[in-house]
């Protein structure tokens, strides 16, 4: 039993990392918004989805004008991801303006924003579906693959207790781009003036406004960044898995949100680690649960497994793995 688990471990790691990095970037979108507004932005998963569709749209357009054949796919990819990120960034800002800011101005109960976010998520799903269906007749879209090259890592010959690992070039792209995004976000948040303002607003909105910071603008910037990252990840998702539909945001959104909580919501590095951890855990569970339980529980229990770990973490460390405990002042 153990032998089998170890044999496929390298492959599970590779697959788990792919998924984990995607969760990580989407989780950051949740955590950024939560950190600054204490709002669970349910529509974020659908912003991610919209990003993947915008990316697919741009890709198809470039293909139709013959751009794809004349230019290296890396450049095409960069164009696509930039356009998608920009577009979803503005989408995020728009959602904040329309659905959240009016509520904030009216001092509405915090939970009411949950309803608008659910509403927005329905609207996004259906609008994307209608557009996709009008254009292609089907809303399950399969994008042309850009990075198809297969790689085989022959670790079996070096370490015979491992099986070989195979992955596609897109895996490297996902890895590189997400890492670049995570690092540049970290730099942005920790090293730049606007990043500093974001942290200040997240820590103490009232005092930040006393320091001549326009809090609403900072919130807009936060939504822009979170959504742009989400949209860009949508493109990565499309590149990696090839197929997208308007409902990918839903499940992925829940998972990413879980990852954000796992890492300690509001904590950016926590969200990154939480995402990667969740991806690895999920992949490990899918690959090994039935081996471990002798068939009593199969891969279908992987989400149960993930949620139980989450609940255990929250019970023993209620502020998440990397969160800071908040002591309520009495």
């Amino acid at each position: 039993m153990l032998q089998q688990i170890i044999q496929i471990l390298p492959q599970v790691l590779v697959d788990g990392l792919t998924l984990g990095f995607i969760y990580a970037v989407v989780a950051i979108g949740y955590t950024l918004v939560y950190g600054i507004l204490e709002l669970i932005n349910f529509a974020h998963g659908d912003v991610f989805m919209t990003g993947s569709f915008i990316g697919a749209g741009v890709l198809f357009f470039l293909m139709s004008i013959g751009f794809l054949s004349s230019v290296p796919s890396l450049i095409v990819f960069i164009i696509v991801i930039l356009i998608a990120a920009l577009a979803t960034g503005f989408l995020g800002v728009g959602i904040e303006r329309v659905a959240y800011r009016p509520l904030r101005r009216r001092n509405a109960p915090k939970l009411i924003a949950l309803i608008t976010s659910i509403g927005i998520s329905f609207i996004l799903e259906d609008v994307v579906r209608f557009i996709a269906e009008l254009k292609t007749g089907n809303y399950i879209i399969t994008a042309p693959s850009l990075f198809k090259t297969q790689y085989h890592l022959n670790i079996h010959s070096i370490m015979p207790f491992f099986h070989n690992v195979t992955f596609q070039a897109s895996f490297l792209v996902v890895l590189v781009v997400t890492v670049v995004m995570l690092i540049s976000l970290d730099i942005f948040v920790n090293r730049t003036k606007w990043g500093m303002a974001m942290r200040a607003v997240a820590q103490d909105r009232e005092t930040a406004s006393l320091m001549s910071i326009n809090v609403n603008r900072v919130i807009s910037v936060t939504f822009f960044i979170g959504s742009a990252l989400g949209g860009a990840t949508g493109v990565l998702f499309m590149i990696q898995y090839g197929t997208i539909d308007p409902y990918i945001g839903f499940i992925l959104g829940i998972k990413a949100f879980t990852a954000a909580v796992l890492g300690g919501i509001g904590n950016i590095r926590g969200a990154m680690l939480g995402g990667i951890l969740l991806g690895l855990m999920e992949m490990f569970a899918a690959a090994n649960l039935s081996t471990i339980t002798h068939g009593a529980m199969g891969a279908e229990y992987k989400d149960v497994f993930a949620f139980i770990i989450l609940i255990l973490v929250l019970i023993f460390k209620p502020e998440g793995l990397f969160g800071k405990a908040v002591v309520e002042k009495v």
Binding site: Q11, G16, R129, T166, T243, A299, K302
Partner: protein, 396 residues
């Protein structure tokens, strides 16, 4: 008092409702003057993740109704379609079923996609004697309850699954089989039937795993499959996940035959899986419709009317509606050209024993299952839809 603030809100709602009901009753009234309106309802998911198939079913039925419109007009009836969206939700399905029952001009239903929705909804149809012809529900429980109004033209899980197993074990000589299913009523039912038959035939089931519908990354399950070194993978589910499983299995170097059921019978399988689709087999109840002249015409009409290529499910939808309309026509004739009762329609539909559809021949047995349901096994030799037929299995 809060009433003042509520007034604008509710007046808007009331206004909307007023417009709806006014127009709805208006159009119904307008129709009745000239010809008696007969409606055929469709109930399939038109929104949500399963809407592609649901829409294909609906469009197929719509085409059948359009084709027959003239024939019914001759007899003095105005034939119309009434599409309902069951959202793949049993509650919604039952509520819609009640709405359908309350519309006395509806004489039959084409639907559903999900057995979980079809089973409770058909209880309502049965109470109201509305005949249902199912194009896609393969679960055994759909007809095993013995309802007089419930019919289906597709094959049951306990026919299709074993047929696939026979082919896999006897023809493809599979010894070690890894089974994946999507944990829906359809995928589970099919995979179970396949597994049981394959085990009976002496193959070893080295894995029986479930996946989550709607996800896109199945590498975990596939890693496990790789470790088990099977010589065939069977997938119970539909193409949205199946296509990706084929693709991701090939990426991990599993170049063994993969097999699926009729849920994989779609051009989208090729789209999603791309080149990986080679060496993929699937069982289906539909022969290649485009091979026959009738089928070719159907495909062309469909494309002309809706601007899309047909899916296998479009033909199911078309045939279900056609059978239903045939029964309806028979009932009208029997009733001397006058509008028959729902009960009469249900009886007439069940009485059909030999109807030539474009996808399949239809003749109902006493439970409402299709006597002629045949299973065809197809194989993809290249990345193009439709695939090549490699076997044909008739019901015992």
């Amino acid at each position: 008092m809060n009433i003042k603030r509520l007034i604008p809100l509710f007046s808007i709602i009331v206004l909307i409702l007023g417009v709806i009901s006014g127009c709805a009753s208006g159009s119904a009234g307008g129709g009745s003057k000239a010809k008696t309106v007969i409606k055929i309802a469709t109930q399939t998911p038109l929104s949500g993740p399963e809407a592609t198939i649901g829409d294909a079913l609906k469009l197929g039925a719509e085409l059948a109704i359009d084709d027959q419109k003239a024939a019914f007009a001759k007899k003095g009836f105005d034939l119309q379609i009434a599409p309902y969206d069951d959202q793949a939700d049993p509650k919604k399905g039952v509520a819609n079923a009640q709405l359908i029952a309350s519309d006395s001009s509806i004489l039959g239903v084409v639907g559903h996609l999900n057995s979980g929705v079809a089973i409770p909804s058909s209880e309502v149809y049965d109470k109201n004697n509305i005949v249902m012809v199912s194009p896609a529900n393969t679960a055994t429980a759909v007809t095993d309850r013995g309802l007089k109004t419930v019919n289906r033209i597709c094959a049951r899980d306990d026919f299709q699954g074993p047929a696939g197993a026979n082919y896999a074990v006897n023809t493809l000589k599979a010894k070690k089989i890894f089974v994946i299913q999507d944990k829906t009523a359809y995928g589970s039912g099919l995979a179970q039937a396949f597994r049981d038959q394959a085990a009976k035939l002496g193959a070893q089931i080295v894995g029986y795993e479930g996946i989550t519908v709607g996800e896109k990354d199945f590498s975990g399950v596939i890693s496990q499959a790789v470790a088990q070194k099977p010589d065939l993978i069977y997938f119970g589910g539909v193409y949205a996940e199946g296509g990706l499983i084929i693709k991701q299995a090939r990426q991990q170097g599993l170049n063994i035959p993969i097999m699926g059921g009729d849920g994989m019978d779609s051009s989208a399988t090729v789209q999603i899986a791309g080149d990986s689709v080679k060496n993929f087999y699937f069982s289906t109840v539909v022969g290649d419709v485009t091979k026959t002249a009738k089928g070719k015409k159907f495909a062309d009409d469909y494309k002309a009317k809706f601007g899309k290529n047909i899916e296998s499910y479009s033909a199911y939808g078309y045939d279900s509606a056609s059978v239903l309309l045939q029964g309806l026509m028979n009932a009208i004739d029997k009733n001397g050209g006058k509008l028959p009762t729902r009960q009469a329609v249900a009886q007439a539909v069940r009485a059909i024993t030999n109807f030539d559809g474009i996808a399949t021949k239809v003749g109902f047995d006493s439970k409402g299952d299709n006597n002629f349901a045949k299973i065809y096994i197809y194989k993809f030799n290249k990345a193009a839809y439709p695939a090549t037929q490699v076997s044909e299995i008739t019901k015992k």
